[in-house]
Symmetry: C2
Subunit: 314 residues, 2 copies
DNA sequence: ACCGGTTGTGGAACCGGTTGCATGAGCCTG
DNA sequence: CAGGCTCATGCAACCGGTTCCACAACCGGT
């Protein structure tokens, strides 16, 4: 395993110069930079991460906190963040946060020593935990806002409101909204937007929930949906909607439209079903860019510390 | 941020002794160990990861390679591995491997410099890539076997065979197996077991596929299932089965039983639908234990380098 | 021709642990 | 009681980069 010293010898310079040539090319003579780079290439030099971290006092790792991996909402976010992290030569570790409060706090404090920053994609965790993380290291929130903290959110509330309007236009008179997990920030936003849209368009609105984002919980809402004699349903999450559609079919219920996401609508060949697609990947990318900015990373585009993505409906 | 030197001063010993007292208590006097531990506790000392890594020449990180995060088969595996890694004070990074061959190879070689070992939960990747990883660092395969390499697999082949037998007993005469992704090791195993079980029980078997493990691809098989006039279907993955069930319902097809997993069967209240449940968490745990053994970690139980979990059907 | 300023480079300290080796105290054995 | 042994400990050299500082060469300006 070649070291920087090997590269330096081959290039005929000192370790110090070699380091500068590779890391801060502007501080070395162009000709030197070229020679050092060639030497590094030839030897297949890969900088030792631990050494770099130790010298710089940074870990080169950021953590993304998610409530679960079993929800396809979070995986693209992770993917996007991962891609951006890798682009800056950073590693991403995933912290799954399904624990109860005290354990969460302990886990965050433990983790804080091992990372340079946090991405919090945990819609339900208490503010206290997020603040604890932020007290240690730079922290960016994903899909949730807390006063005074940087965040990236998808503006689904507006999209959900528009969806209700869309249904109203199509002549639906009784609409159901199936709320998300208790304490979800997004759920609060969406409820407000949906209530406003419903009263604006004069439809009858039934609010169900709270409801975890799972297939099974969608199945479980079928009865209430039927009881509400709704013709249109807006579920908090795709998995809920899928469970609901499934259960309605099994009961032989027809004439109820459940909004979903593009992939589901397409693969099932559903017609006239509106869909909302959150670009999770983008969400992860933007949030990571924000974090990199906070960390003083040069190579990433600067992003405002508070960011809203608009969400299309179709 | 307190360092080992601070702890040493407070405990009235040298850095060397402090290090030994914390890391190898058997090498220090019990009384000293106690004093050092108390000092560390008092200062809230957390060892600097980078320094430890640099000194030991190990990264303290292992990577788990998965094809995607959008498949609920892999997430429990990751969870299990993560839990075991944390138990040994190691970090787990997730490498998603959806790239084409050359990029995969490059990614693995890059990663190899930054980790102590690999867990490969990539059922389809070519052997070459796995071997490349193994050439650099200890590597354990998950749910796949390659000659001469340590692995942990769920014996689903046997379970799938039993499932066919179960269907035959219930009087089903035409059975469909929907194969998994092209090149999947497990798929090969299952096909063999299913063929054997079918010919043993005299049922007519139709093999479909290969078929990616997605909801959409399950939907797409509905036509072929109907054409085969099958009354029982055994899909490779839960997501495929779910898509198929969905599509069959929409067509109004009844009388076709699709095997699934416990969670689905329960939440939908399906009766008389057999289910297969792979304990993914366990799979991850065992594989990580194997890897820890290879890495010479003391604290983990030694596990045979080739391990098969039996899979229950119900 | 002399001086202040820029630029490129090397020496060496440093990040915070781990560990080989040497030292000395205390114990057992012959 | 001497010689050899074990045991606990400290010193100092690492691991492999980064960066402060000093120094030298070279620039243009007066």
């Amino acid at each position: 395993m070649p070291t920087l010293a090997d590269v330096a010898v081959l290039a005929g310079v000192s370790k110090a110069t070699a380091s500068r040539a590779l890391g801060r090319p502007d501080l070395a003579a162009p000709e030197t930079v070229a020679r050092v780079r060639a030497a590094a290439e030839q030897l297949g030099f890969v900088p030792n991460r631990a050494a770099t971290q130790l010298a710089r006092g940074r870990t080169g790792v950021v953590a993304i906190v998610v409530p679960t991996l079993d929800n396809t909402f979070f995986t693209p976010i992770i993917g996007g963040a991962q891609a951006r992290a890798a682009g800056s030569g950073m590693q991403l570790t995933i912290a799954v946060h399904s624990l109860e409060h005290a354990a969460q706090l302990a886990a965050v404090e433990q983790l804080a020593h091992q990372v340079d920053g946090f991405l919090f994609a945990a819609p339900r965790g208490s503010d206290e935990i997020v603040r604890a993380a932020a007290a240690y290291k730079p922290t960016v929130l994903i899909d949730r806002e807390i006063d005074g903290m940087p965040s990236t959110v998808a503006d689904t509330a507006t999209a959900f409101g528009a969806l209700v309007g869309w249904f109203a236009e199509k002549g639906h008179e009784r609409i159901v909204y199936i709320g998300g997990p208790a304490g979800s920030w997004q759920d609060g936003q969406r409820q407000a937007a949906i209530r406003a849209a419903a009263s604006a368009s004069g439809v009858t609105l039934t609010m169900l929930g709270p409801c975890p984002s799972t297939f099974a919980s969608g199945v479980a809402t079928a009865e209430a949906v039927v009881a509400a004699r709704a013709t249109a349903v807006v579920p908090y999450a795709t998995s809920i909607g899928l469970g609901l559609m499934f259960a309605l079919m099994r009961r032989g219920v027809t004439g109820v439209v459940v909004s979903s996401e593009g992939m589901v609508v397409e693969s099932l060949g559903l017609h006239d079903v509106p869909s909302i697609d959150v670009d999770g990947e983008k969400l992860g990318e933007v949030a990571m860019d924000q974090l990199m900015t906070l960390l003083g990373e040069r190579r990433t585009p600067a992003v405002p510390t508070r960011h809203r993505l608009t969400v299309p409906i179709s």
